[in-house]
Symmetry: C2
């Protein structure tokens, strides 16, 4: 048996705290997936992330997807967003861009943990209020109705998220089930499915990000701040736009606290 | 000015008809995207395609996606399908797997043309009958309602397909607009959007495949065979399952005719 190799000289030791963390079993690489520029940019600035140049990107050049990266408190953070639709110029919200972007990012970046952060609608009947921040315990779809046995369950695609009891307790966040669909409004059929999903919050990306996270067996958590009350008096689109800026600041604070909590910890500590 | 290099000896000339076709400006590589095993396998056998081994795949190993390939009448054909959902064991129908599979396939295979073939619901009010085969002139989504200016149009995501007047005429196929959503059934809200999309046929993948084709600036055509009449008497799921086998045979014939027509032609000949 050969003797163990001597420790490397300081100059050859891992250059970043992130690399050192990985060796100790600590969470090293976090991928934050966000949908809207207004939600993402405060965090990009807060974490002092820099935009990855397009010519170094592994994303297809025809995709408007953007990546920002940097080191923060011993973690390597990649924050990705789907960017502006190349035809209509608005944020590429919804399940398709979220899933494609997450697939491409996880395949190349191999994160230890995926954080999908964003705004959501909340249900007053389940105790949600504007400005509340939730960690989703479960995710499912509410707009994939396939009334054939087994296909029906595939359509709903219910998944448990990665359990984070310590984050919930320490940061005093709310827990609730998340239901995902491609519409900002809610049709009667959507409402029926959301009730059947027992959801407290409703977004347009979560379950799609979870589908990809499961494909790669990567733990995933969902931080969602409530911009509008779906079962309230005001029209969703109006309330969403009115509260977007304020609630985005609340979301930013919550995500920073979650990332601060994650720093220096193992997955089992969350 | 140097003299032109002499022609390569026969042994160094392009080994396959497909490579030769590419040099002559002819369509060389066709990617066929299908959703269900029952729709795909007759074509795999008809074109004598072989399954690409998993260990040579560029697809992520956690994805159940399958690729079959081979040469047929001077074309290189790759036929891909999303495979069985790893949790529920049913065909991975719907927009997410179709978009992800198409993205991954186009990125690595760089086809000259994408053919999305499959079954669809048809509208009696627009002249569709069970067994009709359509080439979609336009695609759009009917379950992405975002009632904010510009976001609303992004949600619908209407796109023109690649124009194929000669295929339509020669093969005597029908032309109509295709509307895509993740549900097999049709809610009143879906119906409203489908009417607004002026659709004759309704499927669960088309507009998602078109989104990716546009991202890569790859021409795309949609061959859809009608399994059920959405505005008819019978429940969609029942009629769909009853007609799936028969209509799949019709679809197979139509796709073979389309591929035969494409063989030896340029894009501008279609």
């Amino acid at each position: 048996m050969a003797p163990p190799p001597p420790p490397p000289p300081p100059s050859e030791q891992p250059a970043t705290a992130a690399a050192g963390a990985a060796e100790a079993g600590l969470i090293s690489k976090v991928l934050i997936v966000m949908a809207m520029e207004a939600e993402a940019m405060p965090l990009v600035h807060n974490f002092k992330l820099v935009e990855a140049p397009a010519d170094e990107s592994t994303f297809h050049k025809g995709a408007p997807w953007l990546r920002y990266h940097g080191n923060y408190k011993g973690l390597h953070i990649d924050l990705v967003r789907p960017g502006k639709d190349t035809v209509y110029g608005v944020d590429s919200v919804g399940t398709l861009p979220a899933a494609l972007l997450t697939y491409s990012s996880v395949q190349t970046l191999k994160p230890d943990l995926i954080v999908n952060a964003g705004t959501a609608g909340g249900f007053n009947a389940k105790g949600a209020k504007v400005g509340d921040v939730y960690l989703a315990s479960d995710v499912a779809f509410h707009d994939r109705r396939i009334p054939i046995p087994v296909f029906d369950m595939y359509g709903v695609g219910a998944r448990k998220t990665f359990g984070t009891p310590n984050i919930l307790k320490e940061l005093n966040l709310k827990a609730g089930k998340l239901s995902t669909g491609n519409s900002l409004d809610m049709s009667p059929k959507d409402e029926e499915m959301i009730r059947s999903n027992d959801a407290t919050i409703k977004d347009m990306e979560g379950a799609a990000v979870a589908y990809i996270a499961d494909m790669f067996s990567t733990p995933m958590i969902f931080v969602k701040a409530v911009t509008d009350i779906v079962d309230g008096e005001k029209p969703t689109a109006e309330e969403f736009l009115m509260n977007l800026i304020t609630v985005t600041a609340t979301l930013e604070l919550a995500v920073v606290k979650v990332i601060d909590f994650i720093s220096g910890k193992c997955l089992s500590d969350l």
